[in-house]
């Protein structure tokens, strides 16, 4: 049952196939200190048992995006959106809103918390002006900022965003704030680091460095200010097809 290339399996050790060897290899797991996972994880898993599995079309789309691991703990993202309501337009895997399983079509009120499972996705639309896809065990909450605008605070996972030209849009991390006008971009955060790819368009960047405007015609960004701020740039875990799909699902068009 071990992988063919496993350095511990019989074949790679020039030994005849041996169930005993495979079983002994599995027993090595006992050499790791046993750890009881947090209780909330069991609750999460149990609540996901009856969630519908992703359709194959989604799986094909998700594969490249999922290929690069991404979790975030410390970074905070804020997305300014028009104050005209948000709704969940597509769901895959387990998606919870305020701790309850959510399905496509439900409205998302300010102060709601959206959470997706490791293999899940939540696609959210803001009245055809902006949309995002939250994946990789992502967690986000819709809040109002000091000016009263509805914002999204993302604390975990990947956020792929598409924005209609002219719509205000910003992302804030612990060390930087990214404002976009008519831009599609993806952001990933991990601890205090973050990754940004401007898929197409222009962003404004603020942080522990001079305010900068960055632009890219096709996946990229002027890397220097991003690196200075602890951000990284470049294409990772997404493709044009992902943007096209997100725009289609959120009714943004090109």
């Amino acid at each position: 049952m071990m992988d063919e290339n496993d350095p511990l399996d019989a074949e790679s050790l020039d030994l005849p196939p041996s169930r005993e060897l495979s079983e002994a290899s599995a027993l090595l797991a006992y050499a790791a200190p046993e750890r009881r996972p947090p209780e909330r994880l069991k609750s999460l898993i149990l609540s996901a048992l009856h969630a519908p599995e992703a359709p194959s079309r989604f799986k094909r789309w998700a594969a490249p995006a999922m290929a690069v691991a991404a979790t975030a703990l410390a970074a905070v993202f804020l997305m300014r959106t028009p104050d005209d309501g948000a709704s969940l337009v597509a769901v895959s895997g387990e998606v919870m809103i305020d701790g309850r399983a959510a399905s496509a079509g439900v409205a998302i009120e300010p102060d709601s918390v959206i959470a997706v499972s490791a293999d899940g996705e939540a696609v959210v639309r803001f009245a055809r002006r902006a949309g995002f896809s939250l994946t990789r065990g992502g967690r986000a909450s819709l809040i109002r900022d000091e000016s009263g605008a509805v914002v999204v605070k993302l604390s975990d996972g990947w956020l792929l965003s598409a924005v209609k030209t002219g719509a205000a849009y910003s992302v804030t991390t612990a060390h930087s704030r990214i404002s976009a006008l008519g831009t599609d971009f993806i952001v990933k955060a991990r601890d205090e680091r973050a990754y940004v790819c401007i898929c197409h368009g222009r962003i404004g960047l603020e942080g522990d460095f001079p305010v900068t405007t960055l632009a890219s015609e096709h996946h990229g960004a002027a890397a220097e200010p991003l690196y200075r701020s602890g951000l990284e740039a470049g294409v990772e875990g997404h493709a044009d097809e992902d943007i096209d799909r997100l725009r289609s699902l959120t009714g943004l068009g090109r």
Binding site: M1, M2, D3, N5, P7, L8, S12, L13, D14, L15, S18, R19, E20, L21, S22, E23, A24, S25, A26, L27, L28, A29, Y30, A31, A32, P33, E34, R35, R36, P37, P38, L41, K42, L44, I45, L46, A48, L49, E53, A67, V68, A69, T71, L73, S117, A118, D119, G137
Partner: protein, 184 residues
């Protein structure tokens, strides 16, 4: 192991949630400990455990006892996912240092049902068996199992000839299989 096999069968037959819950209680500490040891990140270990357990729920009927034990099936799934993540980390050159607090917690003493005692005995036996191996063999096994390193990568890391590394792993595995026969 009889109880876990029974749970798996009940999950496969009728998607029995109580069986799944019990199966989780029995296996999660082992798999989570393994994932924490390999990944050294609790958040990623949680993701792996979630993936594995949901796969068990959805694909329990695909488990074939003729090919190996349920434990081997679970450990293989968990380890493969962890090693995939390690490789992706290496690709990004962001491999992080192990947090000792994530790997050095003692087992919870409340788990003392028969099945847990069997696992506890296996744990002790594995540790004793590993301790009984010559240091180079034990280290090679741990590099391969927890580090996901190939024979060539272990050789490069230790500066030993590839053949020597392979021999150490082979001898170590054969001794382990022999010593742990009662637990296989």
């Amino acid at each position: 192991m009889a109880e876990e096999a029974d749970c798996l069968a009940r999950i496969a037959r009728g998607r029995d949630e109580s069986a799944f819950s019990r199966f989780y209680d029995l296996q999660a500490p082992l798999l989570f400990g393994l994932a924490c040891r390999i990944l050294a990140r609790e958040d990623e270990a949680e993701e792996v455990l979630q993936e594995v357990m949901l796969k068990v729920w959805r694909e329990a009927d695909r488990y074939d006892s003729a090919r190996g034990s349920a434990r081997a099936w679970l450990v293989t799934m968990t380890r493969s996912r962890c090693l995939d993540r390690l490789r992706r980390r290496a690709t990004r050159q962001r491999r992080e240092q192990s947090d000792p607090e994530t790997v050095d917690r003692a087992p919870d003493d409340s788990l003392m049902a028969v099945e847990e005692m069997v696992q506890a005995e296996a744990r002790v036996a594995v540790r004793q068996a590993l301790d009984a191996l010559p240091e180079p063999q034990r280290r090679a096994l741990e590099e391969a199992f927890f580090g996901g390193l190939t024979h060539a990568e272990i050789a490069a890391k230790t500066g030993e000839p590839l053949g020597t590394v392979k021999t150490r792993v082979r001898l170590g595995m054969q001794k382990l299989a022999e010593t742990l026969k009662a637990h296989l």
